[in-house]
């Protein structure tokens, strides 16, 4: 691969991957905070209000990191992928501008009110500000997914005389069927992150015998909501997403399943290592016929392998795509097991006493991050070698004006900067968790000096 191309790809992949660690928790927690605030409002329960205040602090730190790592994303289309930006800007400029105009304004305006305005607002108005932050963050997600969906499955465009893509139908583009399912799948994934983090923090409090009252609320809320979304993640959203890949990106499907050769009654590979050179799976553990069933709903359907497509249209990094996909699916299955079992124990009234299960919940915290990251890797590596599927190759889209040397300079800069951000973020989040929910200041300083922490 040409070195400038490689640098620009790593540049975007690195900054996007790091960035998405934060919005997934932002979007997940926004929903959970609305749930806590709703319960507080309806039951007039001060404990739930305090619980929401605690999560608002976590949310605040996480939000800042999401914002500062998100701004570069909007810039990088132009800075590092200018040829692509010019090519597709007539279409995807719509959703990227709408994200700023509709979502970011809503989110930022009401976040200030939500975090700092509790004593200036009535309880209902404060609840409303939490809802506005939730709507803003989930709206933002949609515009980004719609942009990505266009790159995966371009619709609603026409090709102008100068070769660039221009908008033909706004609604066809914005309501891209690919976007609708990908959005549902992605948001469910974000909710899972929020739920696992909430139940992990709750489990930590229960195991360490402090803030027990809050620990129970966190575990309970995280497990109930988490169970719902873990199921939605696989069915229907994941299933529909897979079906779309089958229909519109058959090459991708073959690569992510590690299916080098097409066959009838295609097996589902559970474990095994793709062997690029010999075009086979090493040490395969397979279930016969299942892939045919999942993709075409018939046990003996024929599934096209990579051999059905010209090699220049194959995703370049088949092993990484294969592993990303398998890790995502494997963890998704594990989430149902963990949340399903926890819910069962919660219902039987034994969860809070079952130390081992609390340990499982606590130690599961990193898994949704891995699963969400693997999911995005699957989507974006699977799209290769295309930047806009079938219309522009990745190799043709980067900024020719920006040399590999300049690209590497800023890539290293981002790596250094993000290392600092990551360490600082983890440190501050840990401090908030350690201080515990009781100390989350009432209305941020209403009841006295904010130095109460020290």
């Amino acid at each position: 691969m040409e070195s400038a191309l490689l640098i620009h790809r790593i540049h975007f992949a690195f900054t996007a991957t790091f960035h998405y660690l934060f919005p997934q928790l932002t979007m997940g927690l926004a929903l959970l905070i609305v749930i806590l605030k709703t319960i507080a409002l309806r039951r007039r329960d001060a404990v739930y209000d305090q619980a929401a205040r605690f999560w608002a602090k976590i949310f605040g730190i996480n939000f800042v990191l999401g914002v500062v790592t998100g701004i570069p994303m909007e810039f990088q289309f132009g800075t590092n992928w200018s040829i692509f930006s010019k090519f597709a800007g007539g279409v995807i400029g719509q959703t990227l501008a709408m994200e700023g105009m509709f979502a970011f304004f809503l989110e930022s305006a009401f976040l200030g009110l939500f975090l700092f305005g509790e004593k200036r607002l009535s309880p209902r108005a404060h609840w409303l500000s939490a809802v506005a932050v939730f709507v803003g963050s989930w709206l933002s997600g949609y515009f980004i997914i719609a942009t990505d969906a266009f790159m995966q499955y371009p619709v609603g465009y026409y090709k102008a005389a100068d070769g660039s893509l221009q908008l033909a139908s706004f609604w066809q583009f914005v309501l891209n069927r690919w976007a609708l399912w990908q959005y549902a799948h992605n948001m469910s994934g974000a909710a899972i992150t929020g739920c696992f983090i909430m139940s992990a923090v709750g489990a930590f409090y229960l195991l360490s015998h402090k803030s027990v009252e809050y620990g129970r609320i966190f575990v309970k809320t995280g497990v109930i909501v988490g169970c719902i979304f873990s199921i939605l993640q696989i069915f229907p959203t994941g299933d529909k997403q897979g079906k779309m890949v089958t229909d519109y990106q058959p090459t991708t499907l073959a690569a992510m399943e590690g299916l080098f050769h097409g066959q009838t009654a295609a097996p589902l590979v559970i474990l095994g290592q793709p062997n690029d050179a010999q075009q086979k799976i090493d040490n395969p553990l397979e279930v016969p016929g299942v892939l045919s069933m999942l993709t075409y709903r018939r046990w003996n359907a024929h599934v096209q392998g990579l051999d059905a497509f010209p090699k220049e249209d194959w995703p370049q990094n088949i092993p990484l795509l294969y592993y990303s996909y398998h890790i995502m699916v494997g963890l998704g299955t594990l989430f149902i097991a963990i949340m399903g079992f926890s819910l069962l124990m919660l219902w039987r009234g034994v969860l809070f006493k079952a130390k081992w299960m609390l340990w499982v919940l606590m130690l599961s915290a990193p898994f949704p991050y891995i699963a969400n990251t693997a999911g995005w890797l699957t989507a974006e590596l699977g799209r290769q070698p295309w930047l806009v599927y079938g219309l522009m190759r990745t190799a043709d889209g980067y900024s020719k004006a920006v040399s590999a040397g300049n690209g590497m300079f800023t890539l290293l800069g981002f790596m250094g900067m993000y290392m600092v951000l990551g360490i600082l973020g983890l440190f501050l989040l840990w401090r908030e968790i350690e201080h515990g929910p009781e100390e989350a200041e009432f209305a941020h300083g209403l009841s006295g000096p904010t130095e109460a922490h020290e």
């Binding site: 701004i71 570069p72 400029g93 501008a97 509709f102 200030g112 020719k400 922490h453 020290e454």
Partner: protein, 349 residues
């Protein structure tokens, strides 16, 4: 007027709103270490901008997004051409956000000093960078037939065909921006705080005035020298004369209102906002219909050769109007909620 021209002015207005709004919190950062001596005073400055700075910064994103939507070729050329300074702006924006937000989460004196310095230094550098960016757009960049360019940070600091981001002219505009936003931020802090802090902020604003007046005159002359073409629109459309009238009358109002002890902080702040508006609208007026001049004029990027397709621009007008009304409503609401002087011990920061 074509729909492309309409979008030119929409983006122009959004950039202006960004500079007016984020300008005062950037300026607050510039004077942060000078005006605020104690921890309480520093926290009052942070509280004065805390609930709004993030929303203000969104105007940059929204303006950038709208620029991308309306003029994809301009976005592609300018963002890749200004690659290095843009990336540095991103890093500075990151550092600044951390300086403002994480100070409150880590109440340890040593680290607070660190966050304070990060906030102040990044604010100062951002003012200079934004000014230099404007200078680049007015001066013109080394675009070629491909429609792209790449500017190093500096070459020989002279105006030639192979310019860098920084040369004597863009540095001059950078200093003008720093002075202007320092004054702007001082007016805002004088408006939002009282006691010693408010008095010191007003003192800084007063000190800035002669500098701002001097730099305004110098840069106007320098701009004429660097790009005489800027006068063309002013010669053809007499309405352009409103720009210098606005600029100098707002300077006059600032000079009159700033030393007044009471009640005039708002007048001074509004005058400062209108001054910024006048300068930026004046620049846009001079450029129109060029959106990014090339050093070699045959390669100028104009509204006509950078705009997106007609249908997309028409559809955009519908949703943009709706979103702009909503955004204005949020801003009015939020600023009303946090109106008045900030009190000690109130709020998060």
């Amino acid at each position: 007027m074509t729909i492309g021209s309409l979008w030119f002015w929409i983006v122009g207005v959004m950039v202006t709103v960004y500079v007016v709004l984020d300008g005062f919190d950037l300026g607050a950062g510039v004077i942060y270490l000078l005006a605020a001596k104690t921890d309480d005073e520093r926290r009052r400055i942070l509280r004065a901008i805390g609930p709004v700075w993030d929303g203000n910064e969104v105007w940059l994103l929204a303006a950038g997004g709208t620029l991308y939507f309306a003029f994809p070729q301009l976005y592609a050329s300018s963002f890749s051409g200004f690659y290095l300074p843009l990336m540095m702006v991103l890093w500075l924006l990151m550092l600044r956000a951390i300086g403002i937000e994480f100070r409150a989460h880590l109440r340890v004196s040593v680290w607070q000093q660190f966050f304070d310095a990060v906030f102040a230094v990044s604010s100062i550098l951002l003012c200079i960078f934004f000014g230099a960016a404007l200078g680049n757009v007015v001066r013109g960049v080394p675009l070629d037939a491909s429609g792209y360019f790449f500017e190093p940070l500096w070459t020989n600091f002279k105006l030639g065909m192979q310019t860098g981001i920084l040369d004597w002219y863009t540095i001059l505009i950078g200093i003008l921006a720093l002075v202007t936003l320092t004054a702007h931020g001082s007016h805002y802090i004088a408006l939002k705080t009282d006691q010693d802090l408010g008095r010191r902020a007003r003192g800084i604003a007063l000190l800035c005035w002669p500098l701002q007046f001097f730099m305004t005159c110098i840069t106007l002359v320098a701009t004429y020298f660097v790009r005489p073409e800027v006068m063309a629109n002013y010669e053809h459309h007499k309405i352009g004369l409103l720009v210098p009238i606005l600029v100098f009358s707002t300077l006059g109002v600032m000079l009159w209102a700033t030393p007044k002890e009471k009640e005039k902080e708002k007048t001074a702040f509004i005058a400062s906002s209108l001054y910024i508006t006048g300068m930026l609208v004046g620049a846009a007026f001079a450029l129109y219909p060029v959106v990014l001049p090339a050093r070699d004029h045959q390669y100028d990027l104009t509204i006509a050769n950078t705009a997106a397709g007609q249908h997309g621009l028409e559809v955009g007008l519908i949703w943009w109007t709706l979103a702009a009304i909503l955004a204005t409503a949020y801003f009015v609401f939020v600023y009303r909620m946090f109106r008045g002087k900030v009190q000690a011990g109130e709020g998060h920061y």
